[in-house]
Amino acid sequence: MSEWWTYRLRDFLLFSPRTYFRLFELYNAAIWPAQLVALGLGVWILLLLRRPSVSRGRWLSAILAASWLWVAVAFHMKRYTTINWTAVYFGWGFALEAALWTGLGVFGRLTWTRPPDLARRVGLGLFVFALALEPCVGLLFGREWRQGQILGVAPDPTAVATLGVLLAASGRGRGVLAVIPALWCAVSFATLLAIMAPEAWMMAAVGIVAATAVLSARRQKSRHNAARSAA
């Protein structure tokens, strides 16, 4: 792309805000009542997070893998691609995340332990936000409830909830699982900013909160390790 410095975010926008949110309305109508199943699975994940363990982690990973695969195919590749040709690549990214959760979480050696309190609280907070509040956010800005984005079937709450899960239960192997959700938060922030939707700042806040929690948890853990070594 020549003269790339002259391009602004809006130059990459292909659709209007109305078209974008209407896409979710039509998608929700087409997949109903899959949303109820997705919400039920979300509640189940919340219950599994209460006491993380290897076996619970496998169930949780299977649910998240299924959610990412569903969003990859049913949303990105089948519907979003009708207004955004880059959605095919997003679909492949989401399918890769599903494969990672399957490989590392269901069949792999992803460990699940209780993290430091701060990270756990932030993680659970992000998950509850994605499960219960994110579908209603549009109402605050005058949009219809039919356009709500539901965890497990829509990309934004699925990415936010996944970051929440990764914060709420610590253990090895989760860094790689956080890359695609974090990237999606950035992509969604850019898209929402380009269409001047206030939710853009919500996605930015999620990213900042998650990053701060990760850094704080690391600091807390290193202090803890230092204290143990000194003792």
Binding site: S2, E3, T6, R10, D11, L13, L14, F15, S16, R18, T19, R22, L23, L26, R79, T82, I83, N84, W85
Partner: protein, 317 residues
């Protein structure tokens, strides 16, 4: 470049004959309501395409963002209503690109619904980095539009133009295309555009031009006049930003001197009154907006003094 005037009576006659010849009475009646012609002062203003002498109305219709509505049936019908109003008010040139998501499909949907394939001046683009894929992309675009052939194909943002231009010129030589062009937007790659205008037999160049972005006045527009190249103007209203900028300001009294009832018409007349400009292509999702845009194709145009006044008035806001 002379401006030729087609009388309103002639226009109505042509539209009626086209409708009758097509024998598509039902779709005609179906879109007559949203597309009812506004009351215009005087004849439809057209300008000659330099390379052929064919007349083209001064205002066309863009489709970037506005027509990319995917599979949404009601939004597709709204776009068809916009196209109906556009045709009913004398419009002909519709511009799209494979880059614009579902816009080509939506235009095809509208043309089928309205039975207007014969009326449209179909302008599309090649947008592909690999030269070998160009012909199949053109065929795919044509299938989406549902037209027998394109009137104009342009190399989108000069992407791989060295490979695509020979293919388009060969299509034109074979009678499978009427005009060939190149495009850019927002003032990018003007040096290269100039080089191509000087060295290649293109019929059209598409560039950005509006009351605040007037870079093309320096070299591109004079060169187009000199070389006999038609000019299509994109971003004529800066994607609506110019309208939002001026809408709270009362329309100056001088707007009546050029038969303008609103700012959109003033801003478009500023553009199409430049003698090098063949056609401006504002995009919209609204029937009332397309009707207002089309009023720039009627009535008096500003002279050089009034053009300067329009520019300075908007710059002060």
């Amino acid at each position: 470049m002379a401006i030729d005037r087609l009388s309103r009576r002639d226009l109505i006659g042509i539209l009626g004959a086209a409708a009758g010849a097509a024998s598509f009475l039902r779709p005609w009646i179906a879109w007559a309501s949203p597309g009812q012609a506004a009351a215009h002062s005087g004849p439809l203003l057209t300008r000659r395409i330099p390379s052929s002498g064919e007349e083209l109305p001064l205002v066309g219709l863009g489709s970037w963002i506005t027509f990319n509505v995917g599979e949404d049936r009601s939004a597709r019908d709204s776009c068809a209503d916009v196209m109906a109003a556009f045709f009913q008010n004398g419009g002909r040139l519709i511009d799209s690109s494979p880059m614009y998501g579902s816009s080509q499909d939506v235009i095809g949907y509208g043309l089928r619904k309205l039975g207007s394939s014969a009326r449209v001046f179909a302008a599309d683009k090649v947008w592909e980095s690999r030269g070998a894929i160009g012909p199949s992309q053109v065929e795919e675009s044509r299938r989406k539009w549902g037209v027998p052939r394109f009137d104009l194909l342009q190399v989108h943002n000069l992407m791989s133009w060295e490979e695509h231009l020979p293919m388009l010129l060969a299509m034109k030589a074979a009678g499978r295309l009427r005009y060939v062009g190149i495009t850019t937007s927002d003032g990018r790659r003007h040096d290269e555009i100039e080089k191509i205008m000087r060295s290649q037999p293109v019929d059209f160049v598409q560039v950005s031009y509006n009351v605040l972005d007037r870079e093309v006045e320096k070299r591109i527009l004079p060169l187009a006049q000199e070389r006999g190249i038609g000019v299509i103007i994109n971003r004529p209203l800066r994607r609506g930003d110019l309208i939002r900028m001026v809408e709270r300001t009362p329309l100056p009294a001088w707007a009546a001197e050029i038969d303008c009832g609103g700012w959109a018409a003033v801003l478009l007349k500023f553009i199409v009154s430049h003698p090098a400009v063949t056609c401006a292509i504002p995009a919209t999702t609204r029937v009332d907006h397309v009707r207002e845009n089309m009023t720039a194709s009627y009535g008096r145009l500003p002279d050089a003094a009034l053009r300067r006044r329009i520019a300075s008035s908007v710059e002060k806001l």
